[in-house]
Symmetry: D2
Subunit: 171 residues, 4 copies
């Protein structure tokens, strides 16, 4: 009984600035405050920040943070991952992060995040991209990666905007 929406948060591993980390932490807290579960790639930077924030929510309980790792070793997960899916699939695991999110939120992001944004678009997933902090999220906010869909990657600047957008598509 999947009773909570799963939100995939993608973004920088290395190259996560202090501002981006702090924003991601606030986002993680707000998502759990609102009853959502967070899926991510399980590593550092934005992934760690969003999970750290999740643990700060008054609504936090075990199971709110899920890390889908590229390697076989569960120990590679960041310190705030509750549930670990070690795939041993390398970067092909990026597809699984996206498959596992009902909605995708992107923050900053290098080429790994770009591959996830591209696959999320292919899969028809709703995508929210933070239009600050640079990276592929800001670059693609408000755009269509190709013409297969009539909607857009939705840009959002604040945590409130993101949460409202997430609520809009909740069942």
């Amino acid at each position: 009984m999947k009773i909570k929406m799963q939100i995939a948060v993608i973004g920088n591993d290395s190259g996560c600035s202090a501002e981006m980390f702090s924003f991601s932490e606030d986002l993680g807290k707000a998502l759990v405050d609102n009853g959502y579960v967070i899926v991510c790639g399980g590593l550092g930077g934005v992934m760690e920040a969003v999970c750290k924030g999740a643990h700060q929510s008054a609504s936090y309980q075990f199971g709110c943070t899920i890390g889908i790792l590229p390697g076989e070793n569960a120990d590679a997960a960041n310190a705030y991952i509750d549930i670990v899916i070690p795939t041993g699939m390398g970067i092909a695991r990026n597809a699984l992060v996206v498959h596992s999110g009902d909605i995708i939120i992107a923050i900053g992001g290098g080429s790994g995040t770009l591959s996830e944004l591209a696959m999320a678009w292919q899969m028809g997933k709703k995508i929210i991209a933070v239009n600050q902090f640079g990276g592929w999220a800001e670059k693609l906010a408000g755009s269509q990666p190709d013409k297969r869909r009539i909607d857009f990657i939705v840009g959002a600047e604040t945590i409130d905007e993101i949460i409202n957008l997430v609520k809009d598509v909740s069942p």
Copy 2:
């Protein structure tokens, strides 16, 4: 902060007898009673039973049942899955079920379960096989699929035996 051990339970999807279903349900309840989280393939039969049992535990809380699906569609998960990982990878997802378990418990089982038992052995995972209900679990209980390891697939008949074996390898 992976604070709970993840136990992968594998076994029949179709061909799950009433006895096997009931046993699996009791196992799911006992695992959650003892503070473990259940990972499975997310579909029917043994997978459904063990998750249904998990929900009956007084210790049950959201996040105790994780389903790693072969398809892309989260709706294929059984009614007791809390967290869904739709992989879109077909039977290659069997590898992920095994990677995600700290310990593997097998009940009954046809060729799908057999592939998981074989991969669990390859990966060096501790395996407990129920030596009743037939299937590959009973067939391989007490055996070594090959000589790469010096230990054995451990046979167990009762829920208590299984829980004690799981506790033995807990950190």
Copy 3:
């Protein structure tokens, strides 16, 4: 004894214009003329064109065209695929197309191609992007998707330029 370099060609499936198809066909012929083997996603558009061109080369022999399919069914391959790898992994197979190329050549391209470009960059693969026909190839030609590498996605306009670039990195 891997005696031939494998060149992964990525690009539009649907949305492949006549000009793009013709260019891709010429590229496929030129690659096989020069002793290379072609790896692709095995479907239509650019993938079909490059394999069709391969078959037109005087140097063509069986085994020059390899298709790594998203589905389980080998019959989904285009008519010019010699060797079929049906993965059953859905879009996660994009990672395998890129892993299988010693060099990546991109032509046009929607979000599927974009995910492959992004993963190729992550994996440190040499990437040649055709800077005509639009799509993500032209958009990213001459750029760095992120700062993890000091080189660039190399833009090329003609078949000759591409072949020379491929020869430059041959062992």
Copy 4:
């Protein structure tokens, strides 16, 4: 235009005896003599032997041996692999070896081969198991891993028997 049948050969990597190696070599030669292409896991033991034999056939030409590797590095392929598919997926690549074979032939085999036999059965693939040299091939020859199919894993003792069985199912 998939003009040749792809035969997946699975079996021991380590633990391949001299007799098993020699038999696999003869099998590889016979398969290529008869116009088939060989797909395997690309590593040592039976996989290396069958590819080495392929190269000894008078009908050998480039493209007759395909290795689907667990790792990302093409250099891990044995010396007789013509076409390398480095998957970076670890043991989940076992599913791809089986998907890529029109028919599966098993020789000896530990738990890795067992996982492939089990998945081949699940996928409905025709399976020929050599009933000498021990291992899971001999153990499962003539059996049904489960009741989902009405046919059997066909046992065969000699190269001639195997080739005749392969011809029987050729289109």
